[in-house]
Point group: C2
DNA sequence: CGGCGCGTTGATTACTGTCAAACGGTGTGG
DNA sequence: CCACACCGTTTGACAGTAATCAACGCGCCG
């Protein structure tokens, strides 16, 4: 990994706790294969048994699962610094695909190297484990959103989540960010039809809390948006709490 | 932990990989406080910062999150052998409550002891990490269910999940099992109103694949139920795949 | 007996999906 | 340069799904 690429992972892990120089070196020493993907392309296939784990370096990716009737559900959106399928190191078979949401770049790190790291570095292991637990907390928030929130709340919650996470990795410019999915993809995230996504989006825009055009989202009034969507960022564990 | 209680955890972990005698001893040596709960009682409160992790020994528990309007969403159902809030060891603050679904018994294990275990036993750490990853895979399946499945499929999927997991821990008698939640609680699991749960349940019963009365579920035709609900148990990682 | 919790049913309302059509931008070939 | 196809967005009409409201039955327990 070069400086740019490793910095995302190191920042990600340091967000939660300090790394020693030795730990930082161990991460920098990880081999990584960089690859680029066009929107909609598959980074990792469902039911595959990857030999590498995939770290997003630029752009967005998503976890997607396909149903018999051709429908699709996205269960997470990933941003730079996210180890999308770190779990594949232990679970072996992918229960979902990973697809590019807009053009993206990813680093693929061999499981073997990661595994050796976990055998020799308990503290790093705990930090990696921690990232997968935050990931699970995000999934729980999606379950609540899908199960009990209005369409507008769901969409607002998603935007708040992304806004907050993107700001934590420092890729927010001012109060706006690029978000490239089509409305059909957003429907797959929120469990809605494309048409209804469009109408919900129109409602959301009419509140004035959010502007969203040409794949660019601007959070005009975060406070009210968060209140409306019952978004409380604590579950993202973005503050520092060393162990 | 006495023999009965520890056996669930050991079985749980050994389901995935063999434990050495030393590892088994280390688990048996863990201190545990046993507690019993009545249906609906809270084992762990939302927003609390537990000092112990909670292992279900008997009965069912669920993760629940509450919304401003008083609604509730359950994001997971737990059975004997499940470490419901192992993540609280690393995440510190609970993003959900844990409630009893029917009467249940749980062992509370201090975080400090678990943490020391992870510092000295990389292999056990990996197995514990693994259980949290399976947990996350189950949550992904719930997301797909909530987002894209019909009410009948959702209910069928939940029953298949429970049937399969319960069989893995050996608490299925024949083809049926006790499942004590009220229809209101089931609504909180599936994101439905109580009335609609009742009507969906009637539809499901009319297929003949399932019988469900007096808190007892009987899986009459698992094959067809699984097909109807697009249930594929591979994501539960119940087979053995040592690392 | 009477209240309460839970399950069940029917009527009504609200939400969301499907179908269909039109609009605008973009890239390609003639 | 224009015509055209393609993709994504937007809009309206309609159908199906699910929530809400209300009432009733049943068993349990004080």
């Amino acid at each position: 990994m070069n400086k740019d690429e490793r910095s995302f992972l190191i920042n990600m892990l340091e967000r939660h706790d300090n790394l020693s120089d030795e730990e930082r070196q161990a991460i920098i020493a990880l081999p990584a294969r960089m690859r680029s993907f066009a929107s909609g392309e598959e980074l990792v296939a469902e039911d595959s048994r990857p030999e590498e784990a995939c770290l997003i370096v630029e752009g967005f990716a998503a976890r997607a699962q396909y149903l018999a009737n051709g429908k699709r559900q996205i269960s997470a959106v990933h941003i730079p610094g996210d180890f999308v399928d770190l779990h594949s190191m232990l679970l072996k078979t992918m229960d979902h695909a990973v697809i590019a949401v807009g053009p993206c770049r990813a680093a693929f790190v061999p499981h073997g190297n990661l595994r050796r790291l976990t055998e020799t570095h308990p503290h790093l292991t705990r930090l990696l484990w921690h990232t997968t637990l935050v990931d699970a907390a995000i999934q729980r928030a999606w379950i609540v959103s899908l199960g009990r929130m209005s369409a507008e709340q769901q969409m607002g919650h998603l935007l708040c989540e992304l806004y907050t996470r993107l700001r934590a990795v420092g890729v927010i410019e001012g109060d706006s960010f690029d978000f490239p999915p089509t409305q059909a993809m957003i429907g797959d995230m929120l469990g809605m039809s494309t048409v209804y996504v469009n109408k919900t989006l129109a409602n959301l825009r009419s509140t004035g809390y959010v502007e969203w055009q040409d794949r660019r989202v601007r959070i005009v009034d975060y406070e009210r948006l968060a209140e409306m969507a019952e978004f409380d960022p604590r579950y993202l564990n973005l503050w520092r709490e060393p162990r």
